[in-house]
Amino acid sequence: MTAFIVRRLFWTLPVILIVIFFTFVLMRQIEGNPFRTSERNVPESIQQNLEEKFGLNDPWYVQYAKYVKGVFTLDLGPSLVLRGRDVNDIVREHFPESLELGGLAMLFALVVGIPLGMLSALRANSFLDYTAMFFSNVGFAIPSFLVATLLIYFFALQWGDVFGFPTSGWTTWQSKVLPSLALGLGPMAYFARLTRGTMLETLQQDYIRTAKAKGLRWRRIVAVHALRNSLIPVVTAAGPILGFLITGSFIIEQIFAIPGIGRYYVTAVTGRDYSVVMGLTVLLSIIVILANLVVDILYGILDPRTREART
């Protein structure tokens, strides 16, 4: 198992190099330049100086090599637009908020979604099942900005006195509830549907019939024989979703005025802040890679058959 993890970690290196390469190439393909925007009428000589200072006049392969070196020494370089700030600072200051938001949303999605799906499967085609699946369909279909707006309207404004949730911010625990719900609702609905489907399929398996024929109590059959096998596809889906939640919460951060990293990402793209875009992209790809590694490890714990192939 340890050998497997080490090998997987080693293989993340080329993946990160490829990510850096493509982001680098793609960013250079976009028209424009951080110092030559229409709003700022900067004299040509100053622009020349700035470009010189940030190395933009170097050949692309020199820039690329410098950048790769920076990434592997954990220095993501200075921001080209925000004066006096390093990408490292931006990550250090704003990534924890995004991480916490994504983590809480994921927690909500798993803790509510999986039991809901299980319950639906165990009471398949009952009123409870139909109700749960109706709401998870709705939850899956509504975009998160609408969910966020509705949550703010009802739980922060209309019944704000009762619940005490603020409309925005990321300070007290109350302020973290609505954004986490808004972000986690879609994945929660997805997990519920997925768990229901795989659970129903698992309950049809021959080994469940064997477990019944052994006279085991139903609770044990569900918890030990059915749940574990049902969770394998859920875990598979959970890896990319976790990466997505931690990184892709720009809309929710914007609506709830959360000082997360999503906002920097978008403004950096529009402002051609190359180093910020690249730094964040590399960071996020590392997170997705790690999330997938965790999935693979969990996979081996859940299914002994996959464990063999790796030792």
């Binding site: 139903w218 024989h225 058959r305």
Partner: protein, 337 residues
């Protein structure tokens, strides 16, 4: 008194297309130490009969709509689910056709044996482990200590079926139901598993119900035989009697489909297949269900309008047909005389 007595069992499936009479009035009994073979083709209701005894039919769509299952003086069809759980795996155990899918792939063999032991017997963890090793040894699995911690995918099909059998006999059941236990196995392994089942039956003094579509398996292992066709029993007799004097045209056809390698003439004979298919069990007509495939039914008789009763043609030998072999022979004698 018989350990298990099934009387007029009726299990129906309530589907959108209609009510499927999967088991339609089946009666038999099994004594301790005896093996009852149930034989018939796919879909004849033999597995549903077994699952009905165990209370394992999928509800819905299936439901036991009539009849009795008397087990050691108790009526199983009226027991609650929790009471049935105490019977299953403890007093009546069952093994299934496909050992590749019947064991949980994510739990070790040991766990799957021990959980059965701990469920029914008041036994410590260590004692359960010791007992599990003994059981694996008893069913002929080599190096049982190390096999205990193996997952099922590490074992071959035959070894898995042995592990299934170890689970089944773990709590010393009085009845073992084996539903096509050798069908999914290699021919060489089939014989070993059948021998093992016979051995265990003798040493544990179990009653056994052996379900198969293979007349060869019946010949080897059964004491009494029930031949099922389209949800009903069409013939019932002790094994020797059935093979020597088959009465029902269907039984004859099943035996005719069996290769004869003992005598030289049989080696060159073509195997005869049974033409046609079994009838649809949704609203079957009031007629002999085998009539459409029966070589002896003719337009002049009542096969198409009348359902024959299961009658005792000789002591202990029952048949449901208007054209049993012995009466056909009789007729021919009449004609020539």
């Amino acid at each position: 008194m018989a350990a298990l007595e099934v009387r007029d069992l009726q299990t129906h499936f309530f589907t959108r297309e209609g009510v499927v009479r999967a088991v339609d009035g089946v009666s038999f009994s099994v004594d301790r130490g005896q093996t009852l073979g149930i034989v018939g083709e796919s879909g004849c209701g033999k597995s549903v009969t077994a699952l009905s005894i165990m209370g394992l039919i999928p509800k819905p769509p299936a439901k036991i709509v009539g009849g009795e299952v008397q087990w050691e003086g108790r009526e199983l069809t009226t027991l609650s689910e929790r009471q049935l759980e105490d019977v299953r795996g403890h007093e009546i155990a069952m093994i299934f056709q496909d050992p590749m899918t019947s064991l949980n792939p994510t739990l070790t063999i040991g766990t799957q044996i021990k959980e059965t032991l701990r469920r029914h017997l008041d036994i410590s963890k260590d004692a359960a482990r010791k007992r599990a090793i003994e059981l694996l040894d008893e069913v002929g699995i080599p190096k049982p200590e190390s096999r205990l911690d193996d997952y099922p995918h590490r074992l071959s099909g035959g070894m898995r079926q042995r592990a299934m059998i170890a689970i089944a006999i773990s709590c010393n059941p009085e009845l073992l139901i084996a539903d096509e236990p050798t069908t999914a196995l290699d021919v060489t392994v089939q014989a070993q598993v059948l021998d093992l089942l016979e051995e265990l039956q003798a040493s544990h003094e179990m009653a056994m119900i052996l379900i198969t579509h293979d007349m060869g398996v019946i010949a080897e292992s059964a004491d009494d035989v029930v031949v099922m066709y389209a949800g009903q029993i069409v013939e019932q007799a002790p094994v020797q009697e059935l093979f020597d004097h088959p009465e029902h045209p269907y039984t004859e056809a099943l035996l005719g489909a069996l290769p004869q390698i003992d005598d030289a003439s049989g080696r060159n004979q073509r195997l005869t297949a049974i033409r046609g298919r079994p009838p649809d069990l949704i609203d079957p007509p009031k007629a002999c269900r085998f009539a459409a495939r029966c070589p002896h039914a003719s337009s002049g008789d009542s096969c198409a309008t009348h359902m024959p009763e299961l009658r005792e043609i000789r002591p202990g030998h029952f048949v449901r047909s208007q054209h049993p072999a012995s009466e056909r022979a009789g007729k021919r004698v009449e004609v020539t005389a």
